[in-house]
């Protein structure tokens, strides 16, 4: 299994090479090759693991040297953060890095003797799934980024941004390496290191342009994530001191058995995961992350960063079931799902809609993990898969659209289908994947609803029901914008999408559709065993009969519009002007106003930003969730210490 250290170390090496290569063409070539290599090695890992019977594998029992290296690297991260926070006059942020690092270092060097129950690396269904997501989506994003960043630095909008692509790409690769390390590690100290690494990578990516807003937002992301890192470090050291081991699986199994220190550690780590997964009250960092170039948003939102939070919550899910921690996490997640979907309605900036919808969907996954039953975990896994693909697709598509259109406002995408047909179709597929029957997201939502009813989790049922209604609203109105006939007279737009961007988009779209078609199979072959392994028992959330009828729906939903379109194409029908009280001016784009002059028609969607805008809702909901977390944590800590 030499492929595992390779997966972690290779991206790091490549990132060094990226940093040193200042010739764009050479660097781009290396970027292509190495992202293909990463995808290939993920494939090798999957094949090797399948050959060994898809059983969990633990590796690397003796790692003294590596432990030391990691400790040193941790100090290096601390120094970077401290330097940057002093440089940008936010010295207090460095405390959030110094404290946990010193704590961990003290524990590792002078703490009580640790027992080693398992290896440092653990491979099972969940980590394999995460590797596939990180490797495949992450690799595609790198390929996309090569074309995108070229266009980015050659567009007049970003002329004031220094071209530091070597830095950008090296960060992308570090990020991938850190994610692989994170999802494959079993040792909590390693997990903590990779956790800090992703936090700092995202901080540097967000601050890429070095504009004042970017710096402000990057520091917000940094302190929120480091705060989570503090909680994680405290949890590890507390658990390690009390029970004398730092294995993730040990933590989960002792917490299930009712060990108080383990339960407390689980709730602290769950809070840390909330910061990573950008749940309320920590959502603002992910929205601020929009200032960075699109590939980094795509990476943060789909394949890496936020998924790290979900991953760790899924690992903890069995230990959270029917505990106060579980209730707290489910409550915060459900609330985030509903409230951020309201806020998404009020956004007209395409990327902001995507950002809010990411937080909202993550909320649903977090809630599922918090409930912690086999059914909800099943739903969360599928949500995660569908979300990763369709979000990555949508971000890349909006980025490409912005390059061509000069705007990423949903209102400006009126009639996109007739201006940029390819991008519009990809966007359509991505959005459909987010909410429409028979695409998977909806099925997962359905499973989540059923599971939360079975669990008698009344509040979660409320959140899911209302949240699913609001979710459909903002997606459908966006889709409607894309297909509406253009009201801009004869505007010619050149599709500037590069070939490599197109390749990435196409693969995403194909994956999206394949995932829908193979959904029942995937559930049977992969997700059910995963859940089974986690809980020791599993049952199909949706019966085979339903999955079978779903296939019928898939056929109908795809076939009917297609057939109807094909058969209607050759029919002759008279085309008339749309009704405008008889004041049309000859086409559907203008009318005669009350002064007798021509007036261009401008159609706009509903946004209600004065009622449910994020300015109005964000602060109260942050306060509310913060209150919930503080109160619940007091109860949990009190319960554990007494």
């Amino acid at each position: 299994m030499a492929v595992i250290p390779f997966l972690i170390i290779f991206p790091l090496v490549i990132s060094l090479i990226m940093y040193c290569t200042r010739v764009n063409k050479v660097r781009n070539l290396i970027a292509y090759i190495s992202s293909v290599v990463i995808m290939a090695s993920v494939l090798v890992l999957v094949v090797l693991w399948c050959k060994k019977g898809m059983e969990p594998i633990t590796l690397y029992y003796e790692t003294e040297v590596v432990d030391k290296v990691i400790l040193l690297a941790e100090f290096l991260l601390m120094i970077i953060v401290t330097y940057l926070s002093f440089k940008y006059k936010r010295a207090w942020v460095s405390l959030l890095s110094i404290c946990p690092t010193l704590l961990i270092a003290y524990y590792e060097l002078f703490g009580p003797e640790r027992q080693q129950f398992a290896g440092h690396i653990y491979i099972d269904h969940l980590s394999i799934l995460m590797c596939i997501i990180v490797g495949l989506i992450g690799g595609l994003i790198v390929i996309y980024a090569v074309g995108y960043m070229h266009g980015y630095h050659h567009s007049p909008h970003h002329s004031n941004v220094e071209d530091r692509r070597y830095y950008f790409f090296s960060l992308l690769f570090i990020f991938l390496g850190a994610m692989f390390g994170f999802v494959l590690s079993e040792n909590l100290l390693w997990i903590d290191f990779f956790w800090e690494m992703t936090s700092i990578c995202s901080f540097l990516l967000i601050g890429y342009t070095r504009e004042p807003e970017a710096i402000k937002n990057s520091f917000r992301a940094l302190w929120m994530n480091l705060l989570g890192g503090c909680a994680l470090a405290i949890a590890i050291v507390y658990f390690g001191t009390k029970l004398g081991c730092v294995d993730l699986h040990m933590l989960v199994s002792t917490a299930i058995l009712g060990s108080k220190p383990a339960s407390l550690a689980v709730s602290l780590i769950a809070i840390a995961a909330l910061t990573k997964a950008a749940q309320l009250p920590f959502s603002t960092w992910l929205i601020g992350a929009m200032v960075a170039p699109t590939p980094s948003s795509a990476l943060l939102h789909s394949a890496t960063m936020v998924k790290a939070g979900i991953y760790i919550l899924l690992r903890l899910a069995p230990a959270m079931s029917e505990t106060q921690t579980g209730t707290m996490i489910a409550l915060v997640g459900g609330f985030t799902f509903l409230l951020t979907s309201f806020m998404a309605i009020a956004q007209s900036d395409g990327k902001k809609v995507l950002a809010f919808s990411t937080i909202s969907n993550l909320g649903l996954m977090v809630a599922c993990a918090g409930v912690g039953t086999p059914e909800t975990v099943w739903a969360a896994i599928f949500l995660m898969m569908f979300h990763a693909i369709s979000k990555s697709l949508l971000f890349q598509d909006v980025g490409a659209t912005e390059n061509a259109l000069g705007s990423r406002d949903v209102e400006d995408m009126h009639g996109l289908l007739y201006m940029l047909p390819k991008l519009a179709i990809f966007m359509f597929i991505g959005i459909a994947g987010m909410f429409l029957a028979p695409f998977g997201m909806l099925i997962s939502k359905w499973a989540a609803l059923k599971a939360s009813v079975d669990e008698r989790n009344i509040i979660l049922v409320f959140f899911i029901i209302f949240g699913s209604a609001t979710t459909s609203f903002y997606w459908t109105k966006w889709m409607g914008k894309i297909i509406s006939h253009s009201h801009l007279n004869g505007r010619q737009i050149k599709d500037k999408t590069k070939k490599n961007e197109m390749i990435s988009l196409t693969i995403h779209a194909v994956l999206m559709i394949a995932l829908c078609a193979l959904f029942p199979l995937l559930s049977e072959v992969f997700v059910n065993p995963l859940v089974n392994q986690m809980f020791g028992s599993s049952q199909n959330v949706l019966s085979d009969k339903i999955l079978f009828t779903l296939i019928i729906i898939i056929l109908v939903v795809f076939a009917v519009p297609f057939l109807a379109y094909q058969s209607g194409k050759h029919q002759t029908q008279e085309l008339k002007l749309s009704y405008m009280n008889g004041v049309n001016t000859g086409d559907n784009r203008a009318f005669t106003d009350s002064f007798g002059e021509d007036k261009t028609l401008w159609l706009s969607n509903f946004y209600f930003h004065k009622i449910i805008g994020s300015r109005k809702l964000m602060f109260p909901s942050q306060i509310l969730t913060l209150a919930v977390i503080i109160v619940m944590m007091c109860m949990i800590i009190g319960g554990a210490l007494l």
Binding site: I458, V461, A469, G480, S484, H485, V557, S578, L601
Partner: protein, 287 residues
């Protein structure tokens, strides 16, 4: 076997029943307004005339969007009568409604677009009550499957009076009747002309009308599901309740003026939470 027959019956007979209900609606409405009103079969005459007219449209794509709307709506009802999962029926219905929205906005016509926007808003407003009802059925009978719900020992309404109120309330929105006819403005020549259907004409309008009939029959069948149990006599009760509900809708339609969307949103969600939500909480504690 019965399921297959029922499904085929729905596909074939639903337009007939829906059309008759529509005719009845017009007749009763006319009598309420002290008019004689059109003959009972008038809706059929209207549709057949629309079908015979020369096809016209504002955008070519309207055709295929409306056909998709119709087929998906038929599929919704077919799934229902085939006794499959109730939640799935409603999910397919919302996909169908999405196609209607597309047919409304695709033309970029001002009245159709505003109507479509309101239709979308209405979807958001009624969806919680619909999902609540599904959850209610599941809690009351232990299954989401229509066939098992209909074959339960006791009528579901015994457990679900609040859900029933909420569902009947949103029926007014779903059937696009006043005071919630914001999307289509049931009575023409008003603020948004005919809303989402303004630029749907001739054959397309016929498709739209027939789909509405299918939809109404499906919705009424859901109302009946509240009453039906394994005792066959309950079917008679269900039919009576359906007719009463339908009459109630006509009465509401004729006695109320259109409200703004804000009012629709507030009242509907309050009713949903107060009736369906409270009923749900009680049910979850009891069962």
């Amino acid at each position: 076997m019965i399921k297959v027959i029922l499904t085929i019956c729905y596909i074939l007979l639903a337009p007939l029943i829906g059309g008759l209900l529509d005719g009845l609606d017009r007749k009763i409405s006319a009598r309420m307004q002290r008019r004689v009103g059109p003959p009972l079969l008038q809706p059929f005459y209207d549709v057949s005339k629309l079908l015979r007219k020369k096809p016209t449209a504002v955008a070519n794509s309207q055709n295929f969007l409306l056909i998709s709307y119709m087929v998906l709506m038929i599929l919704t009802g077919a799934f229902f009568f085939a006794g499959t999962d109730l939640l799935m029926c409603f999910f397919v219905m919302s996909t169908a409604a999405t196609f209607l929205y597309f047919a409304g906005v695709v033309t970029s016509s001002p009245y159709a677009s505003i109507g479509a926007q309101r239709e979308l808003l209405a979807m958001m407003v009624y969806e919680p009550a619909v999902l609540f009802s599904c959850v209610g059925f599941y809690l009351a009978t232990g299954s989401f499957n229509v066939s098992e719900i209909a074959m339960s020992n006791k009528s579901a309404i015994i457990y679900l009076p609040g859900f029933f109120v909420a569902f009947v309330f949103i029926l007014t929105i779903k059937m696009r009747k006043s005071p919630f006819d914001l999307a289509t403005s049931h009575h023409p020549n008003q603020e948004i002309v005919k809303g989402i259907t303004t630029d749907i004409g001739t054959r397309n309008l016929a498709i739209f009308t027939i789909t509405e009939w299918y939809e109404n029959v499906f919705l009424m069948a859901v109302v009946g599901l509240f009453i039906a149990n394994k005792n066959l006599i309950s079917i008679i009760g269900a039919v009576i309740v359906i007719l009463l509900v339908y009459f109630l809708e006509i009465l509401i339609d004729n006695t109320s003026a259109r409200v703004k969307w804000q009012t629709m949103l507030k009242t509907t969600w309050i009713v949903t939470i107060l009736f369906a939500g409270v009923n749900l909480i009680i049910l979850m504690i009891v069962k």
